[in-house]
C-alpha cells in the first residue's frame, strides 16, 4: 500500500521541550562525577589558597603565628599615619620590582619571539639531520631552570667565566665584566639565560604552526615570482599571527611570574628583583604574611588584567580579520 503524509504543514514550529536520552542523561551525570576529583583538587590547591591570600593581605598575620593575624583593612597596601604614607603602594622597592618585571618581560619575550621565529624558519627547511637538530635544540628547554641558571652563572663568572674569557680574547672588552653583580648588567644576564632556555619552546611552536600552513599559497607566490622576503611579510607572517599571539601570551604570563632564574642568578639584588621575588621575600624571609600576601595579590591582579586585556584584544583582532 502506498501511503503519503499530507505535506501541507504550518511553517512556524512551536519549540519542543529539550529532552535527553537516558544515555545522554547518564553521560552528563558521569561527566560531573568524573570532573569532581579534578575540581576538588584545584579548589584545594588553587581556589581556596587564592582566597586565603586575598584575606591575609587584609591582615597583619605573621608566618610564625599564622592564626593570630588581625584584620587591618587595606593598611598593607596603603595607610597613613603620623610619619606619612606607608604600605606597598608607596614602597620604592615594590615599584622597582614592578619595573624590573615589566622590563624583563618586554625584552625577553620580544627577543624570544624574534629568535624563535628565525629558528623555526631555519628548521622549516628540509635538510638531512633536521630531526637531530630539532632534538638538540630542545636540550635547553629540558634542563631545569635552576641548573641552567647555575651553568650560566659559572659561564658568566667575573673572574673565571668563559664568556669574559672569550670576549677578552676577541678584544670586545678590556676588563672582565661582573655580569651578575653589576647592577647595569645583571638584568641582561638574567634575560640572556631566560631567552636561552625558552627559545626552543617558542621555536617549536612556530615550527608546528609553519608546518600547518597551506602549501598552495606558496606555490602560487612562487609561480608569480614574488620575492621571498615579500612572501614572508605578506603571506607567512599574517598566517602565522594566531600562533605568534598564542606563544606571546604564554611567554608573557610566564615571564610576569618569573622567580627561579633570578633567585639563583642574582639572589635578592634589587636591580633584578621581580614581583614574585619581592612577594616571597616579604612572606618567607621577613615572615610578614600579611604584607607578602598583599604583594602576591597585586601581582595576581596585574597578571589577570594583562591576560584579560590580551585575550579581549586578541579576540577582537581575530574578529576584525
Amino acid at each position: 500500500m502506498t501511503t503519503s503524509i499530507s505535506r501541507a504543514q504550518p511553517f512556524y514550529d512551536e519549540p519542543l521541550p529539550i529532552k535527553e536520552t537516558p544515555v545522554q542523561r547518564r553521560r552528563i551525570r558521569a561527566a560531573w562525577l568524573f570532573l569532581t576529583p579534578m575540581l576538588l583538587c584545584l579548589l584545594l590547591v588553587a581556589g581556596w589558597p587564592l582566597l586565603r591570600t586575598f584575606w591575609f593581605s587584609l591582615t597583619d598575620t605573621s608566618l610564625s603565628d599564622a592564626g593570630a593575624g588581625a584584620f587591618i583593612g587595606l593598611s598593607n597596601y596603603l595607610a597613613i599615619d603620623g610619619d606619612g604614607w606607608s604600605g606597598i603602594l608607596v614602597d620604592p622597592l615594590w615599584w622597582q620590582a614592578v619595573r624590573n618585571t615589566l622590563h624583563f618581560t618586554a625584552v625577553s619575550v620580544s627577543l624570544e619571539i624574534c629568535i624563535g621565529l628565525a629558528v623555526a624558519l631555519l628548521l622549516n627547511v628540509r635538510f638531512t639531520g633536521r630531526a637531530l637538530v630539532r632534538a638538540m635544540i630542545l636540550i635547553p628547554w629540558a634542563i631545569p631552570t635552576i641548573v641552567s641558571a647555575k651553568i650560566w652563572a659559572w659561564m658568566l663568572n667575573d673572574q673565571f667565566g668563559i664568556i669574559n674569557h672569550l670576549m677578552l680574547g676577541l678584544g670586545l672588552i678590556d676588563a672582565p665584566l661582573a655580569w651578575t653583580a653589576d647592577a647595569s648588567l645583571s638584568m641582561w644576564a638574567v634575560i640572556m639565560v631566560d631567552v636561552w632556555k625558552t627559545v626552543p619552546f617558542v621555536a617549536l611552536l612556530m615550527l608546528a604552526a609553519l608546518q600547518m600552513l597551506p602549501g598552495d599559497c606558496y606555490e602560487a607566490a612562487r609561480v608569480d615570482g614574488v620575492h621571498p622576503l615579500k612572501v614572508f611579510w605578506r603571506v607567512t607572517l599574517p598566517l602565522l599571527m594566531p600562533a605568534l599571539l598564542v606563544a606571546a601570551i604564554f611567554r608573557i604570563l610566564d615571564s610576569l611570574r618569573v622567580f627561579d632564574v633570578i633567585y639563583v642568578l642574582t639572589s635578592n639584588s634589587s636591580s633584578t628583583m621581580s614581583m614574585s621575588i619581592y612577594a616571597r621575600q616579604q612572606l618567607v624571609e621577613f615572615q610578614d604574611v600579611g604584607y607578602g600576601s598583599a604583594a602576591s595579590t597585586l601581582l595576581f591582579l596585574i597578571v589577570a588584567v594583562i591576560a584579560v586585556l590580551y585575550l579581549y584584544l586578541g579576540r577582537r583582532q581575530m574578529e576584525v580579520r
Partner: protein, 378 residues
C-alpha cells in the same frame, strides 16, 4: 521478532526541526530502507531508534512497548556504523564478543555465540586478527558481527557501504541481502544510494526535509510516486519533467505542454483544479520512444550518450535540462538529428503546482492512446 512503531515522532536540535511528525510501522522481519538527500533526517531517525538521540515528542514502540526512555542495550537493537567504528585495540573475536562480555554472558556461551556469528559471516579464520589487518569488506563484516552477536531483534545500518569501493559494494550488498534472508531479523538501513535502496528493501521510506515523503515497496515507489520529489529521486537517469497546463479539468485530464503538444484523456483526476492551472508532466526516459522526423518537425537531438547496453538521447525542449530518452544501443542518433517523441501512456505522471501527484484513475478505455498521441503531435 519484533514490530517497530513510530508515532508522531519529532526531533528538534538547536531550534531546528530535524524530524517532523514521523509515523511509521515496520513489521517484524521486514527490510526497511530510509533514503533521501543528505540532511533529510534519515540518519537522525535511525540514531533515534537506536537510542543515541532523544525523541523530543512522540513515541517509539517496539513490540507495543514504549522504549523512549530505554537505553540502547535495553531496546534490543544492534547498529552498524558508517565508519565501522571497530575497537582498534581488540581482536576480531573481542570486537564481536565485547557486548556479550559486558552483558556478563558466561564464557562458554560467549564463545559459542562469537564462533557462530563468525561462521555466518565467514570470519572464522580471522578471529585473532586486529582490525587494521583486515580489508575493507572484512571490517564491514566484523562490524555486522558485532551488531549481531547479542542477537538483537532489530539491526540498524547507517550507510554501511559508503566507505567501500564500487565492486565491493555490490558484493556486500548481496551479502546483506543473503543475511537478511537467513536471519529473518528486522533490518533498518539508511542510505543515499537509490540502487541500494531499490535492491535491498522490502519497504522504502523516502524522507525529505524531515518529513516522510512516501512509504512503499520499491516497485510502488518507482511506478506510482506520490510526489514529484519521489519521482525525481528514484531512477537514473531521473524522470523528465515538463511544464504543462491543464486544459479541461475532469476525471480524466487533458493538458498541453510546449514540448509534446496536447495530451487528452490522461488517467488523472483533476476535478479539484481549475482550467489553466500549471502542472508538471513527468515521464521516465524508458517510457519515451523516438522516431526520425523529417525537416524541421519534432525535437532536435542535442546530445547522445552511448553506454554499450543502451543509449541516452538528449532532446532540446527549451528548458534548462534537456529531455532524456532511453533508446536501444543499436539506435543511431546524432547530434542535430530531428526526432519525434512517442510517450508511453502508462508511464506518464502528472503533478500539481505543489508537487503532489494527481489522483490516478483507471485508464480511460474509450480513448485510444494512439489517437491521443496523434492529437498530441498535431
Amino acid at each position: 521478532m519484533s514490530k517497530l512503531q513510530l508515532d508522531n515522532v519529532n526531533k528538534q536540535l538547536g531550534g531546528l526541526r530535524i524530524l517532523r511528525d514521523i509515523s511509521l510501522e515496520i513489521a517484524s522481519g521486514e527490510f526497511v530502507v530510509f533514503v533521501g538527500p543528505s540532511g533529510c533526517g534519515k540518519s537522525t531517525l535511525l540514531r533515534l531508534i537506536a537510542g543515541l538521540e532523544s525523541i523530543c515528542a512522540g513515541d517509539l514502540l517496539i513490540d507495543g512497548r514504549r522504549v523512549n526512555d530505554l537505553e540502547p542495550r535495553e531496546r534490543g537493537v544492534g547498529m552498524v556504523f558508517q565508519s565501522y567504528a571497530l575497537y582498534p585495540h581488540m581482536s576480531v573475536y573481542d570486537n564481536i564478543g565485547f557486548g556479550l562480555k559486558l552483558a556478563k554472558t558466561d564464557k562458554r556461551s560467549l564463545r559459542e555465540r562469537v564462533l557462530e556469528t563468525a561462521r555466518v559471516l565467514q570470519l572464522d579464520k580471522l578471529l585473532q586478527r586486529k582490525p587494521k589487518e583486515l580489508s575493507g569488506g572484512q571490517r564491514q563484516r566484523v562490524a555486522m558481527g558485532r551488531a549481531m552477536a547479542r542477537e538483537p531483534d532489530i539491526l540498524l545500518f547507517d550507510e554501511p557501504l559508503s566507505n567501500l569501493d564500487a565492486s565491493l559494494r555490490v558484493q556486500m550488498r548481496n551479502e546483506i541481502a543473503r543475511l537478511h534472508a537467513s536471519l529473518g531479523t528486522t533490518m533498518i538501513y539508511v542510505t543515499h544510494d537509490q540502487v541500494e535502496a531499490m535492491t535491498l528493501a522490502d519497504k522504502i521510506v523516502v524522507l525529505n526535509a524531515g518529513r516522510i515523503e512516501q512509504v512503499g515497496s520499491p516497485r510502488e515507489l518507482y511506478e506510482r510516486p506520490v510526489s514529484r520529489f519521489v519521482a525525481g529521486f528514484l531512477g537514473s537517469p531521473r524522470m523528465n519533467f515538463l511544464p504543462a497546463q491543464l486544459l479541461a479539468p475532469g476525471l480524466h485530464s487533458a493538458i498541453s505542454t510546449p514540448a509534446l503538444g496536447q495530451l487528452a484523456a490522461l488517467p488523472f483526476d483533476s476535478r479539484a483544479l481549475a482550467a489553466g492551472s500549471p502542472l508538471t508532466l513527468g515521464i521516465r526516459p524508458e517510457h519515451l520512444s523516438l522516431q526520425k522526423a523529417s525537416g524541421d518537425a519534432g525535437l532536435r537531438v542535442v546530445g547522445v550518450e552511448y553506454l554499450g547496453c543502451e543509449t541516452y538521447v538528449h532532446l532540446d525542449v527549451d528548458q534548462d535540462e534537456p529531455l532524456i530518452c532511453r533508446c536501444a544501443a543499436t539506435a543511431e542518433w546524432r547530434h542535430g538529428d530531428r526526432a519525434e517523441l512517442r510517450p508511453e501512456f502508462a508511464g506518464l505522471h502528472l503533478f500539481d503546482a505543489d508537487g503532489n501527484c494527481l489522483p490516478r484513475q483507471a485508464a480511460a478505455t474509450a480513448s485510444n492512446p494512439a489517437s491521443a498521441l496523434r492529437q498530441g503531435c498535431a
